[in-house]
Symmetry: C2
Subunit: 311 residues, 2 copies
């Protein structure tokens, strides 16, 4: 039987996931809870949420958390590490509330020219991806799809630079709150062909601009060119296509066009991005599942938290 | 004293405006009401709304309406005129519900390659702009800012092609419903400098993609690079900048880079677009106010509705 060496927690704004992790990275147990960092107020609330989700687990194990739990509105604000940021810098930046877990810092990109960019949580997924895949360490581009998707340039094991695309949120607010959502039925079956049509519109005619191309979701629906049930997937393809169009160009401009391109995150969303990347002629070399547990283990090790490890 | 020759109505989804118009285009009276086409159901409701807004006006005058009143969900569906569409085609496409006003058709652009595009109401503003400004008739580009902004290519007095940019709605839903709005105070004073910063971000770095650049509204706020009160104007500049970037390229691709560029619509919004266009090095040659009354008059005349005119 394998013993756990770490309690790892990915503590986002709206939910959290906790894992019992073995020394080789094996996840021995997983739990989820709805006590996201933005739903809790005050030290005692965080302590109680952590106690609840780790009930019955060995409290003597080191605990390491990443995500919005370390933000201004989280448990304890943990200052951002600056790019380039690798495991050593992240480990050096851990902070810990009294009786609480160590918390991983987020990462700030700021070159003084472009607006700064921010991540909290994804740096740990990147650390996990690099831990598990040697081929990504020297030079690579890792894409983490999501509400706020991250495109990460890796150089020499560090996050050299990154860019957030708020594609997931853009899709959600347009679907729920704009005129585009009005034609969409609630329970449409997935339409992969309409998704590809949206991707292709961005790929072939993206110069027409996203504010213009979005309106096609309405005009295609109103004129009956696309059935109402296809419009949500068309919109999804369009916004993901615009992200890929810009992201691939940004990656190429950094000299990473020949370096491995990896997707990491929720499998269904990664599959969607994978299909779209193929359409752009840049298939993902690797598609990884959630690498946060591996990242938490790697950072706990780098920080010397794994006291039970043999010297 | 000047006699009115027409009751003109711009009857949109959420409101309507009615005018008493003289033979030379002078607006003798204006009224507004909240009975937009999407708020009314059934013939009698439209009749009542029209009666209310035209109370005391001479019912013997011809009446001409444009806008969403002619849509599927309006009073009477009026089939779209197809590009290229000029005053003659629009006049030929008028339809009239019993005891109701004549209604101007919308315009459909469909080249069989790109998704189709639609307008209802703006064709009348374009007709008014062309009526009032001979310099725009042969070849021009007319931009009508708004919730769904229209870029219109005019050739030989006709709407040759057009493109909708849903910039206004994009701004509104992101401000009200996305994470970007959360940092914005309700009562910020205008910040023209932040608006220009947003325009410049789109102009200089638009290749990074709108889904990415939007996130700067958050990162600039969180890092304190922009005060919270400046973020709404930065967002406005960013989305308008992306519209202009794409629209100016589309205009140039049509060979209209040297043809007059005009803005038409609500003065404050036109001023915003005017400032942004200057930033792009393409100042508007003309800035027009609401040209809908002039357009309704021109179309009524083209359709032979102005019975009181001397032969």
């Amino acid at each position: 039987m394998v013993n756990p060496v770490l309690i790892g927690i990915d503590w986002g704004s709206t939910s959290l996931r906790a894992w019992l992790v073995a020394a080789d990275g094996t996840v021995l147990a997983e739990r989820t809870a709805e006590q996201g960092a933005s739903t809790l107020k005050g030290h005692a609330a965080f302590i109680a949420a952590l106690d609840a989700v780790t009930q019955g687990w060995d409290k003597a194990l080191p605990q390491l958390a990443c995500g919005m739990v370390g933000s201004t509105h989280g448990w304890l604000e943990v200052p951002y590490a600056h790019c380039p940021a690798g495991a050593a810098a992240l480990a050096a930046g851990l902070r810990r509330p009294d009786d609480g877990p160590h918390i991983v810092p987020g990462v700030l990109f700021d070159d003084g020219v472009l607006p700064p960019d921010l991540m909290r949580g994804e740096e740990t997924q990147v650390a996990g991806a690099l831990q598990q895949n040697a081929a990504l360490r020297a030079r690579s581009c890792i894409v983490l799809p999501g509400t706020h998707a991250k495109w990460v340039q890796v150089q020499d094991g560090c996050i050299a630079r990154f860019a957030t695309h708020m594609t997931g949120e853009l899709y959600a607010v347009l679907r729920r709150h704009s005129v585009l959502g009005r034609l969409m039925p609630d329970n449409a079956t997935p339409d992969p062909q309409a998704f590809l049509q949206g991707v292709d519109a961005a790929r072939e005619h993206g110069d027409l601009g996203l504010p213009h191309q979005l309106f096609a979701v309405r005009s295609l629906g109103v004129t009956g060119r696309l059935p109402a049930a296809a419009l949500a997937d068309y919109l999804s393809g369009l916004v993901i296509g615009h992200e890929l169009r810009a992201g691939l160009q940004w990656r190429a401009a950094a000299g990473l066009a020949a370096a491995p391109l990896a997707l990491a995150g929720e499998p269904q969303l990664c599959a969607r991005y994978g299909t779209a990347l193929e359409r752009f002629g840049h298939p993902a070399a690797l598609v990884l599942d959630n690498t946060a547990p591996a990242g938490l283990l790697a950072l706990a090790r780098a920080a010397g938290l794994l006291l039970t490890e043999a010297p």
